[in-house]
């Protein structure tokens, strides 16, 4: 069972306070998008072995959604950060790079 730090309320708590929300940084495609774009938006997830970026909600806490940079193999958590961003913040990228040089994830690296 993981422990995560909520970047909004600063609590470091066990997983039972949180609720996982799948892959992070997914761009929404709405009306006007192509079938392929929309299909990828809804269904194409990278599900990597290694560095991953996820959405979590502090459900039994402040109720806020945030992002976590995490390793799906070692379960190491590189950092958590606000959900109100489209890009991965540089300091988080740096933290991942320090542990996994040369990582890449979707269009990010």
């Amino acid at each position: 069972m993981l422990i995560l730090e909520c970047p909004y309320c600063g609590v470091t708590a066990e997983e039972t306070e949180f609720h996982g929300g799948g892959e992070a940084h997914i761009k929404r495609y709405g009306p006007g998008s192509t079938e392929e774009e929309f299909n990828n938006y809804l269904f194409a997830k990278v599900n990597p072995k290694g560095v991953h970026f996820e959405r979590w909600r502090h459900a039994n806490g402040c109720g806020k959604w945030f992002h976590a940079a995490r390793n799906t193999v070692t379960l190491e958590v590189y950092g958590t950060y606000t959900a109100q961003t489209s890009d991965i913040p540089q300091d988080i990228k740096d933290k991942v790079s320090a542990k996994v040089p040369g990582w890449s994830w979707r269009e990010f690296e």
Partner: protein, 189 residues
């Protein structure tokens, strides 16, 4: 006009820690920009208490304010004053983007008192209740076994707990179970 009643109407249990359901308390959920001076002033006017820091509760004579999230507060006032407090608050905040809504009836409140209140909480909430980690002034939203709850310490012997009204029976059952004599652990001081 009928008398409003709290969920458990003041039920109490004498375990190795005393468990009491408290009567109705005025509670107002406020959402807005917590950094705004206007909001700070309105909160102060409503409760007499200053804006709390992250995960803190700020307590004054006539009311209290708890930090719920970066854009949410819970104001605690007397039950019969809620409507007038909200009206005054709304007037003070006119023109701002905010929300102030009465949730007094949507909540149940409990008080634990005794020497071992910390360990009773630690049986049902995944929170480090050591003196160095949690103290008066701290406010923690978490889960209490299977329900969301929030609590703070009024003093070293007293914990106050808020949960949803519909699960008041469950919360009371949990607290009684945790406070049952013979279950003393003796870990915090």
């Amino acid at each position: 006009m009928s008398n409003p009643v709290s969920a458990l109407q003041g039920a109490a249990y004498d375990g190795y820690v005393k468990v009491e359901e408290l009567g109705l308390r005025g509670m107002i959920t406020v959402r807005g920009n917590l950094a705004s001076t206007k909001l700070k002033n309105a909160v102060k006017a409503a409760t007499g208490a200053a804006m709390p820091k992250q995960r803190q509760i700020s307590i004054a004579d006539e009311g209290a304010v708890a930090w719920m999230s970066p854009d949410e507060l819970l104001l605690l006032v007397s039950y019969d004053k809620v409507n007038e407090v909200i009206a005054a608050f709304e007037e003070a905040m006119a023109g701002q983007h905010f929300l102030a809504v009465n949730v007094s009836d949507a909540r149940a409140m409990f008080r634990l008192s005794g020497d071992k209140v910390r360990e009773v909480i630690a049986k049902i909430s995944p929170v480090d209740m050591a003196q160095d980690e949690f103290n008066t002034g701290d406010f923690r939203r978490t889960r209490m076994a299977q329900i969301p709850a929030a609590f703070w310490m009024a003093d070293e012997q007293t914990v106050e707990i808020i949960c949803f009204r519909s699960v008041a029976d469950y919360a009371y059952g949990l607290l009684k179970d945790a406070a049952e004599p013979g279950g003393e652990i003796g870990i915090f001081g």
